[in-house]
């Protein structure tokens, strides 16, 4: 039995934690929360110098060719620190989409630049306040030109290119397309979200040039495969954030006195923190399994990814929400950092689709496995 990260992977974690403690401190995160910059460009540059963007990109495409376990380790630390960068959009979604479906030419064009930290990508899927389905997908491609509106697109305001899901036939048929966001027919507007530390946009496409990514008509299955892979990586970000929330709650409860004693000595608080811990450990074990399945490209990935996503989304939200509660009145002030995780927990819980939907997917996949 060897169900844990290796010594090398653990030292990578330490290295990442140290780097982010300095370069993605709460002060730095708050600069993005309160300022006009959409992301921390200096931090992004530093992450590029550390070689993180190329972690799972093969060496033949300019990456470091480590693998997904290493990427999971980095993701957990990014989540812990709340690093305000377009890493998830670029690496877990855009780069993965190209690795999954791109032609050699597309890989050659984008992957080396992504690995160097010189290109930012994003995934343009959602079209408004409802779940995206074949029945309601309005964005369409015709003769190599795409038209429609995508909202919200994480990092859509800063990305160089987007992977766009658009109808390419009748009856809800769709395909994936690469769109140069600096080209003609693209209008981007920043959109406010519950988490201003991560920038989002509305992208209006009016006959923008669209290059097919993968086979025509395969958009939905490709998106499903893409989201499975991203679900595992985001689960590690959520895990890091959940653990940070528990750590904050613990520290505050130990230092805060009421009724003549530490509030951490009251069972109402102790049991709340114990429940946070249980949720996090269940999520951690499910995420590790997802990491294993992702790294081996195992047939278990669809089930493992759904379980990891459900467990991590719920554990992070629970930990972030109860962290505010433990902090009492200070917990809902702008000044304390509790809200940073509360915002990020809800954002990451929805960015690849809600836990509600992933639970349904999970049972569908278990049924398929049992049939």
């Amino acid at each position: 039995m060897n169900f844990d990260f290796s010594t090398d992977q653990k030292s990578l974690r330490e290295q990442a934690r140290k780097f982010l403690a300095e370069h993605a401190s709460s002060t730095r995160v708050r600069r993005i929360l309160e300022g006009a910059a959409p992301f921390d460009a200096e931090l992004w540059k530093g992450m590029g110098e550390m070689g993180w963007m190329g972690t799972a990109i093969p060496e033949s495409h300019g990456g470091a060719g480590f693998g997904y376990l290493e990427l999971c380790v980095i993701a957990e630390e990014l989540g812990r620190s709340l690093a305000p960068t377009p890493f998830s959009s670029t690496i877990y979604l855009a780069a993965e989409a190209i690795l999954l479906a791109g032609s050699d030419a597309q890989k050659k064009r984008w992957l080396p630049r992504i690995a160097q930290g010189e290109a930012i990508g994003c995934l343009a899927l959602s079209e408004g306040p409802q779940v995206a389905t074949p029945a309601n997908l309005a964005t369409r491609v015709d003769g190599g030109r795409v038209s429609g509106a995508k909202i919200p697109v994480a990092d859509g305001d800063v990305a160089d290119f987007a992977v766009v899901l658009a109808g390419d036939g009748a009856g809800g048929r769709a395909g994936l397309f690469l769109v140069d966001l600096k080209g003609a027919g693209v209008t981007r507007t920043a959109v406010a979200t519950v988490d201003p530390t991560r920038s989002h946009a509305r992208i209006a496409l009016e006959g923008a040039a669209a290059e097919p990514l993968g086979p025509a008509g395969q958009g939905w299955p490709l998106v499903e495969r893409l989201l499975n892979r991203a679900a595992v990586l985001v689960a590690f970000e959520q895990l890091g954030g959940a653990q940070a929330s528990l750590d904050m709650a613990r520290e505050y409860a130990l230092g805060r006195f009421a009724f003549g004693r530490q509030i951490a000595s009251f069972q109402a608080i102790k049991h709340k923190l114990a429940d946070m811990y249980v949720g996090i450990e269940l999520a951690r074990s499910n995420a590790y399994y997802g990491a294993w399945a992702l790294s081996k490209d195992a047939p278990e990935l669809p089930v493992a990814a759904a379980a990891a996503r459900v467990a991590a989304s719920e554990a992070y939200y629970q930990a972030a929400k109860e962290n505010i509660q433990v902090h009492g009145g200070m917990g809902f002030t702008w000044e304390f950092d509790c809200h940073l995780h509360y915002r990020r927990a809800k954002l990451t819980g929805l960015m690849l689709g809600s836990a509600r939907r992933w639970k349904d997917l999970l049972v569908t996949r278990l049924e398929a496995g049992a049939a």
Partner: protein
């Protein structure tokens, strides 16, 4: 990251598989037990069958893998015990007779007994010739074990025991027992305890079965009237019984176990084969959401155990994560039972084995699962343990810590 055994572990697993294949009967379904198939049948006495199997297991060297070789063990790291248990769990082996003796009593004897005592008791316990039980809990001392009141009074070379124990598994068939009793009620409660072992055949011991909600009787009350124990059977110093009891309980945490009853697989199967008002239960959104929640918890506990096994396999001390297992599994068993019965609607109440799905396993679990949330650490005590030992939070304010025991306030229950 993988789920493979090391070469040594794989060789051991193969040895275990071969041996079990030759000496034990495979299960029909995952949660079936020897008891659920054979209990009550003529010619199937559980204790006799268990002793016969235990003897073979001891001869094959599987009975106490982590014990020193001089006592019949193999001195193997704990991972091998886990591997053996994994393999044995696929078979119908009568369980519940020797776990306490081998897992808790003997380790305590190894730590505190004389060489002569170890020689006298360990081999007999290993072969299942002698069965042990543990006399700890009392009517007034459950979660707060150190509040126990059974008296031990010195009389020459003997101690005289008076009082009552409760929740003693197997007291009605045990030959020997470990006992913690109060030797000095004038001192603070943790300091006035002394630890012994004694014969369950001693004059003055009376054992009564306790009938549980489920109708089963796994536990006993044990009454002591002037029971005499030679001082030579004291383990640890006079007044040091609490420390000895902690040794015993640390071992309990390593042995306490799995969900015994329908689990995710069974509720998933039921949902796929049961019709609701709007079609198959598995197609109902509310049902699907709960199934997903149960799957995530089930996998979470299973995979957490793999993390613990990994630490053991690497020769490391497992992290605290394994403390979540029972806290998640015990309430989950109750939830699965109740949820399954809801799916069966009005028919869910039926407990006739021939008329209820899975021979009424869900209904039986409804009645047995509340005990799982209490035995071997209540949900609340487990949360305290996680809070204090894992998260490092302070203990509760203890009003009883430094008062003499006989001056502590008591209630009527």
């Amino acid at each position: 990251m993988d789920f493979e055994d090391t070469r040594e572990e794989a060789a051991f697993r193969a040895e275990v598989r071969q041996w079990l294949g030759a000496h034990a009967e495979p299960k029909g379904r995952a949660f079936e037990t020897w008891q659920s198939r054979y209990a009550g049948r003529e010619g199937y006495d559980g204790l006799e069958r268990a002793q016969a199997f235990q003897r073979k297991k001891a001869e094959a060297g599987f009975a106490a893998l982590h014990w020193p070789t001089e006592w019949g063990g193999r001195a193997l790291p704990p991972i091998y015990q886990v591997i053996y248990a994994q393999e044995e769990s696929r078979y119908l082996v009568p369980r519940g007779y020797f776990e306490i003796g081998l897992g808790m009593c003997m380790p305590t004897l190894f730590a505190y007994g004389t060489e002569e005592q170890k020689r006298r008791y360990a081999p007999a316990a290993l072969r299942g010739d002698e069965v042990w039980c543990q006399l700890f809990s009392e009517p007034g001392a459950g979660s707060d074990l150190a509040g126990l009141r059974t008296r031990a009074q010195r009389d020459g070379d003997d101690w005289v025991i008076n009082g009552q124990k409760i929740w003693t598994s197997g007291a009605h068939w045990a030959d020997w027992a470990i006992l913690v009793a109060r030797s000095d009620p004038k001192t603070a409660k943790h300091k006035g305890l002394t630890f012994f072992f004694l014969s369950m055949k001693s004059p003055g011991i009376e054992t009564r079965r306790i009938k549980q909600i489920s109708g089963a009787s796994h536990f006993n009350e044990v009454y002591f009237t002037d029971v005499r124990i030679p001082d030579a059977q004291r383990l640890g110093a006079v007044g040091a019984g609490w420390g000895v009891a902690i040794t015993t309980l640390m071992n309990e945490r390593l042995t306490s176990g799995d969900l015994r009853g329908p689990d995710f697989e069974e509720i998933f199967g039921l949902a796929r084969t049961t019709a609701l008002e709007d079609g198959p239960a598995i197609a109902n959104a509310a049902v699907r959401e709960r199934l997903a929640d149960l799957y995530v918890k089930t996998q979470g506990v299973r995979l957490t155990r793999f993390r613990t096994m990994t630490a053991l396999s690497r020769g490391e001390t497992p992290g605290p994560e394994n403390s979540i297992g029972k806290l998640v599994n015990a309430p989950k068993a109750q939830e699965i039972a109740s949820f399954a019965m809801d799916l069966l609607d009005m028919g869910g109440v039926v407990m006739d084995k021939d008329a209820a799905p899975l021979r009424a396993a869900f209904q039986e679990s409804l009645l047995s699962s509340p005990g799982g949330r209490i035995a071997a650490g209540t949900d609340e005590i487990l949360r305290n343990i996680i809070a204090e030992r894992v998260l490092g939070l302070p203990q509760d304010v203890r009003v009883d810590r430094d008062l003499p025991f006989d001056q502590l306030p008591t209630g009527s229950r």
